[in-house]
């Protein structure tokens, strides 16, 4: 009995002297760090996914024309070259589920300009959340939770802990933006300023030839997109297909993609600009499906001209 009492008093001592103070210190330090991290790093990095999601959810710029899509949008369109008041919401490694999340949020806003630019790929409608750290800053938003679906974890709601293992990717984006080492940053766009050596580029082409983009149809996403278009006749949906390296044109079901584009064109509030075959100079590519800075400037000007024609019409 005496031993048991000693054990209990030891346990009490452990709780009072170690466990509780440790929890208190960690909670205080964690909350403080979380506050500073979100305020100074996450919220101040315009190319980070977290910033872009927060911007689309919480801020409204009536004159802004948004550009949505994946890395082909993020690395392909230079907002200042496209025109005034463009902002690039492109998110690396994401699928159409994320793009449509942005489009839906955009359509909830009251804007002075009706246009919104949406990137379309020859790979069609794919799913992909990309880096989970993009969503953590706005994790309490119901739409974000729904978007994450099965990938949502209860600890994502705990400040500081939610960033466990993900601080690095956010810091990396922050440093890239602030060091301007090999990238050009412009209103959300992140463009590669360096070109790949010829030998390596040839290797990428050879690899791509073995794995050509196939237009994937995903009924849920396609119907959702068409639903949004129909529900917002006052908005002008401008779909753009960014340039591909010529090696990608041998896609086996490219006709499926063309058929879908053709169907999109039947909507009154839709314009489709296919730039997929507009760049043949290899020096403009970062890899077979992404442009570098030089290519992005060229492509952005092409889009600028096309958008000007809409305006004049």
């Amino acid at each position: 009995m005496e031993k048991r009492n000693l054990s209990i008093s030891n346990f009490r001592l452990f709780c009072v002297q170690i466990l509780l103070p440790l929890i208190f210190i960690l909670v205080a330090a964690g909350l403080g760090f979380n506050y500073l991290f979100e305020r100074e790093v996450v919220a101040k990095s315009q190319i980070s996914g977290a910033y872009k999601i927060n911007r689309i959810l919480t801020q409204t710029y009536p004159d802004e024309i948004p550009i949505f899509g994946d890395s082909r949008a993020e690395m392909g369109l230079l907002p200042d070259s496209v025109g005034d008041n463009f902002f690039n919401y492109g998110l690396y490694s994401t699928g159409y589920d994320v793009t449509l999340f942005f489009v839906e949020e955009e359509c909830k806003k009251t804007k002075k300009r009706p246009e919104l630019i949406v990137n379309l790929n020859l790979s069609g409608f794919t799913y992909g959340l990309g880096d989970i750290s993009n969503y953590l800053y706005n994790i309490n938003d119901d739409g974000v939770k729904k978007l994450l679906g099965d990938d949502y974890r209860p600890y994502f709601s705990i400040p500081f802990i939610k960033y466990y293992g993900r601080f690095e990717s956010i810091f990396r984006t922050y440093f890239v933006e602030n060091s301007l080492m090999a990238k050009v940053i412009n209103n959300g766009a992140s463009l590669e300023n360096q070109s790949i050596p010829v030998a390596q580029f040839r290797a990428l082409v050879a690899k791509r030839e073995e794995d050509l983009p196939i237009f994937r149809t995903a009924e849920v996403l396609q119907n959702k997109l068409l639903g949004i278009i129909k529900a917002h006749p006052n908005r002008l949906f401008v779909f753009v297909i960014a340039p591909y390296h010529p090696c990608c044109f041998d896609s086996t079901n490219i006709n499926t993609g063309h058929a879908f584009i053709h169907m999109l064109r039947t909507y009154k509030n839709v314009r489709v600009f296919d730039f997929s075959k507009s760049v043949f100079d290899e020096s403009m590519f970062f890899n077979t499906s992404h442009l570098n800075y030089k290519g992005a400037v060229y492509y952005s000007r092409l889009l600028h001209d096309s958008l000007s024609r809409i305006d004049s019409n």
Binding site: N10, L13, F14, I18, L22, I25, A29, Y164
Partner: protein, 473 residues
């Protein structure tokens, strides 16, 4: 179940709490059930293999003790060892042997019709098999009384903190601890918690961070230059140390909180001044196992120099094979045998040279040079340990030998970006700082240590529940 998983974060406090709440007579039962649950979290059916070896060795232990005739005792011991080695042979070495038979048959223009087994290697098989074998050998030698309580014996083999990656315990150290009445002790709990947090730091912050660069190097050797190869192989030396010693620290810490003492498995091995010393500091539970059950029975150093060299070679070859069924592990073991034998043969000559060159007067600088040379030798041998095959190992060595030390940021960072390299160097720096702490982690400012280390784990820890390297053995 992984120590660095969310499941363990729940499992461990619950088991520990119940351990202290339950009356002493039921505690073994709780620990056994918890250990089964822990093991079955990986692949439930492999518990049957464990059960098989447990029953065999339990019965062998009793037969060994009850038998008075030496010849029969020997027979029982051999039967038990054959059963244990047999399980290892089937699950770990069958395909390797078969592959080599196929190779030899091909050379002779024949065909090998023996089918390959499509079984996964049970996690930690080599660890618990060796632990079980040490029990029967010790009972045979009369150093340990046979355990007559099947549950306690099963717990000796299956005690969850050290079940899948050691330390490989001895029955003399462990079995009596399962009978002892442990009460919650403040000092044990604090020290145990320090060990767990430090182990998690080593695994999640250091090892998993360095693995990014190392995996990239071994996956894309063609992209590396001599700088990146040098960095990558040094990183692997530190990665494997932190991965394995981190596991051992967590194992010791979890056991310590419940009042159990597990043996120290690592003692800052890269501070060794020679390869022989390295083996007294690295995976101590395995090297002492080989010393006691292989090296000494072979004659140790008592039968002349040549027998000693032969014994070194056998021990290191077996040690290599213990790690894995691959020729790369055999080469790794042979290299270590060569280092140790060469050092022994050249000891007098080296001492004379050192004296002649005045190196012995340099004191701490001389000791530092010895440590660097030992680290370089061990790191070179790790190339074979890490590479999937001999070809990949030679590619890595060729990259080193090219002496291409041009500064190319993409190559130096192995395309993983400067931040990854900076963080890798930072965590090595933090590991170095942690060497200022006492080895047993009995500290004055426990709260400070726990808070800072936990904070570092959360901020710098790599995401994902990465397996421990030694699980595969």
């Amino acid at each position: 179940m992984l120590f660095n998983s969310f499941a363990f974060l729940i499992f461990f406090p619950v088991v520990t709490l119940f351990y202290f709440i339950l009356p002493h007579k039921f505690r073994w039962c709780l620990l056994l059930v918890a250990s089964c649950f822990f093991y079955m979290f990986f692949k439930p059916e492999y518990i049957l293999i464990l059960a098989f070896t447990i029953v065999i060795d339990f019965m062998a232990g009793i037969l060994l003790e009850d038998e008075t005739e030496q010849r029969k005792k020997r027979k029982y011991l051999i039967m038990s060892i054959v059963a244990n080695i047999g399980v290892l042979a089937i699950f770990k070495y069958f395909n390797f042997i078969n592959l080599n038979i196929t190779g030899v048959a091909k050379l002779l223009g024949l065909k090998n019709h023996i089918p390959y087994l499509n079984w996964l290697l049970p996690i930690g098989l080599s660890f618990h098999t060796f632990q079980a074998m040490s029990y029967t050998i010790e009972v045979y030698r009369g150093n340990q009384k046979a355990e007559r309580h099947l549950g306690i014996y099963a717990l000796y083999v299956m005690f969850y903190p050290q079940l899948v990656a050691g330390p490989i315990e001895r029955p003399q150290n462990m079995i009596h601890q399962f009978y002892a009445r442990h009460e919650f002790e403040y000092s044990n709990a604090v020290n145990g918690l320090n060990l767990i947090v430090y182990g998690l730091f080593k695994k999640m912050v250091v090892a998993d961070r360095l693995s990014v660069y190392v995996n990239q190097l071994y996956g894309n050797v063609y992209y590396a230059n001599s700088w990146s190869t040098l960095i990558g192989i040094c990183f692997f030396s530190i990665q494997i140390y932190c991965d394995f010693s981190g596991y051992s620290d967590i194992a010791r810490g979890t056991a310590k909180i419940m009042g159990f003492d597990l043996m120290v498995n690592f003692n800052r091995p890269y501070l060794s001044g020679s390869v022989s010393e390295f083996w007294t500091r690295w995976h101590i539970s395995l090297s002492t196992w080989f010393r006691d059950y292989l090296y000494i029975p072979l004659g140790g150093n008592r039968k002349g120099e040549w027998t000693l060299y032969r014994n070194f070679l056998i021990v290191f070859l077996v040690s290599g094979l213990w790690h894995g069924a691959n020729w790369t592990y055999v080469i790794w073991g042979t290299l270590h045998a060569f280092y140790v034998i060469f050092a022994r043969i050249t000891k007098i000559a080296r001492n004379n040279i050192a004296q002649f060159a005045g190196l012995s007067k340099l004191g701490s600088l001389n000791s530092f040079i010895d440590k660097c040379i030992t680290f370089a030798l061990v790191t070179f041998a790790w190339i074979f340990f890490r590479a999937e095959n001999f070809g990949k190992a030679t590619q890595v060595i060729r990259k080193l030998a090219e002496f291409d030390f041009r500064f190319n940021l993409n190559q130096i960072t192995m395309m993983k970006g400067p931040l990854n390299l900076i963080l890798s160097l930072l965590v090595i720096g933090l590991l170095w700082c942690s060497y200022l702490l006492p080895t047993n982690l009995k500290l004055k400012h426990n709260i400070l240590f726990l808070a800072i280390t936990t904070f570092i784990i959360i901020v710098l820890g790599k995401n994902g529940e990465a397996e421990f390297i030694y699980f595969q053995f």
